[in-house]
Symmetry: C2
Subunit: 428 residues, 2 copies
């Protein structure tokens, strides 16, 4: 007896059967629409990139543990992209001369990270990556925050369901040094501590703070700073605030798009000022749905030209968890609107002809490949989600007619072939 291979997908990856794929397609279709309405242009790049670009730029955790690497027969050491940003930085750098900056670009890559699979985390996920390149202006921040709201809105989310929590790393640095008294050497460790703040318990945080060299009093002060919200801004030097795009956003008509939160820092190494994360307001879902930020110098691996950018990656796993939580997940699309059923095999060609007319009118139409008894075909059409069938019988056909039947009301009518399209349409 032969030994069969497993039919499950490789650990941490997913099959998308038609029902799941239809959900994914609809969700991302709504997001494409919003992006296109705002003038974002879609691009794409290869899944394989030189491993080096991630090892140099994506932070230690990705480079050391999460990268899928391979060496080709030609000796190139490549990696499956764990994120899109280095690829798009490469493309922007390579085409900088012909681009009209600032540009708005988006893509829909799948990304691979070798992580322990768990709720919200898989090894291959799909994401929307949206960025603005070539501008230092706070208008870029506003555009990105508006985009986030429009995207969430297009998925049916109302403003009470999510919150955009934003920070500026430079504001936090200033607060940490000027108010908490953190030294420049301690800063990286304290940033990591802040990043874990909401995921760890107080004892653990306090221990980690002590390891970083903070006194108990400094730890208390840090706790206050992180909880201060907008009031923290009053305590920061004017000069620091003047340089902050986030402060500009908070002073603009777009302020209500975000909530200032000193606790947001994000893990990825390359963010330089604005950072944000979008949270589900439902207590069932504590993790950030997605996030992003501003990087002043991402293209520096590829060019001496400084190209600032701001953007985010929005992954399908946490997003669909969010939609499920709020009962916003779209229903899978049916297989067809209408099925054309020949009563006998000899009428298959006739059924195909009728199906062709229905399709020309934009109706999603299928015909049986293996013909069963009419009753069985009606059941199959119903299971396929069709709302009507067209039955092609010999006598009808000889007289130039077909029978149109609604699967909802079981009402049926014999009409001429020419009338079939309008009759079906009236039933849908």
């Amino acid at each position: 007896m032969p030994e069969y291979l497993p039919t499950t997908p490789v650990k941490g990856t997913r099959d998308f059967l038609p029902a799941e794929m239809s959900v994914r397609t609809q969700v991302f279709g709504h997001l494409y629409d919003v992006l296109e309405l705002r003038g974002f242009l879609r691009y794409d790049g290869p899944i394989l990139e030189p491993a080096e670009i991630y090892e140099r730029k994506s932070g230690q955790e990705i480079a050391d543990q999460q990268l899928y690497t391979l060496t080709t027969k030609g000796g190139e050491r490549l990696a499956l992209r764990p994120e899109m940003t280095p690829s798009v930085a490469r493309m922007i750098a390579g085409n900088a001369k012909s681009l009209q900056f600032p540009v708005r670009w988006y893509s829909h890559p799948n990304c691979h990270r070798y992580e322990r699979p768990q709720r919200g985390r898989v090894r291959e996920h799909w994401q929307i990556n949206a960025d603005i390149f070539g501008s230092d202006s706070a208008n870029a921040e506003i555009e990105i925050f508006e985009l986030v709201h429009d995207m969430m809105g297009a998925l049916g989310a109302t403003p009470d369901m999510f919150q955009v929590r934003a920070n500026d790393r430079n504001l936090l640095s200033s607060a940490l040094t000027d108010i908490v008294g953190v030294t420049p050497e301690q800063l990286p460790q304290v940033f990591t501590l802040v990043d874990r703040w909401e995921k760890s318990d107080r004892t653990k945080l306090s221990d980690t703070a002590a390891e970083a060299g903070l006194t108990d009093k400094q730890f208390e002060k840090l706790t206050e700073v992180l909880a201060a919200g907008t009031a923290l801004l009053d305590e920061l030097p004017e000069q620091v605030k003047e340089n902050s795009n986030l402060v500009k956003v908070l002073g603009s008509g777009a302020a209500d798009l975000i909530k200032f939160d000193p606790m947001i820092v994000r893990g990825l190494a390359y963010y330089t000022s604005t950072v944000f994360e979008v949270f589900d307001t439902s207590p069932e879902n504590r993790r950030a749905l997605f996030g992003g930020g501003r990087y002043s110098d991402l293209a520096s691996l590829f060019t001496s030209q400084q190209i600032p950018g701001i953007g985010f990656g929005m992954g399908d796993v946490t997003l669909i968890d969010f939609l499920d939580t709020h009962e916003l997940t779209p229903k899978p699309r049916s297989e067809a609107d209408v099925v054309v059923i020949p009563v006998v095999e000899e009428l298959t060609g006739a059924a195909r002809e009728v199906a062709g007319r229905l399709r020309k009118a934009g109706l999603r139409t299928s015909t049986p490949i293996e013909l069963r008894k009419l009753g069985k075909e009606l059941t199959r059409a119903d299971k396929a989600g069709a709302r009507a069938v067209v039955i092609v019988g010999q006598e009808d056909w000889d007289a130039g007619n077909v029978t149109v039947r609604s699967l909802a009301t079981r009402e049926q009518r014999t009409v001429t072939v020419d009338e079939a399209v309008s009759t079906v349409t009236s039933l849908l």
Copy 2:
């Protein structure tokens, strides 16, 4: 000075900048429409699969030379899919109990093969994969051939631009054994010879035939058989023809969808009867655009259940070459329909408000992120492909007005904010 990394994509892969991506998106969008209209359901699977499934099923060339493999930290030996069929066979086998066979499925994967890059061949390409599973009926063949014609038609191709050349490997086997006198042992070698027939010169073919043990007379006979076209059918045993779906198609109303051609065999190991290739009729483009066929037992790696299928993969590279040759390639989409320009920075919020209204009406609308002088913004809007701009000036805005300007005619009008949408629409 730092050493910069190359900005070109990894050899054999491609970046899709927005202009190229827009072409790809439009082309595949048309193909999705056709597939959905015919009741094909889209699915997707992981890029990484166990290397074993290709090594066992995809033919020697792929397994030995073209596979990108890697070993994860967990010790799994994986491969980047070189084709979609083994993945879909795995999914079909794993879900056979819950599926209503026959099923029509399609996907849009990217596939990786380590080949020498050349015209029509890259190392990462995108394809449409369409299959019908669970039917032995010739109606499945007809459905697939109709689908091919509809897909080509949706891209603007007229029937004179391409030809579907189809064969049945069993008919050819019969002709080779019964007419040419090929022994069962010689068959595989002769199939390979036939596959190369159009790509090699006559001396080379004759030498290869001699190596396979064919006499000069047999080689002459083989040449006749391959050139015979439909006339060959008269010389084949009735029993063989009765078992051939292709012969059924040729005897049906769908016969004109294909041209019978004994020379078509296709390389992939798993085809068992019907095979076809779609050719450009233009002499500039001699290679097959794409092709497919019927496999009786593809799921056998995963299940004892026999699940026949028929399908094809249609790759983006040869397809876009075809469209270019016939001047059918769609134009890249513009960045936006309309740009809303505030005359001064202080009116940015007002411009965003107007832009929001235009987007609600379905108009693709952008606003400047970094404001330049009005003349420059008009030039930028023109370059971005916009057909109109809305200018927001202080006095106008204070009076509840904006100025709408056509970029084609330079005609402009001052209207109320409420009238802006209809005025812009009338200009597009």
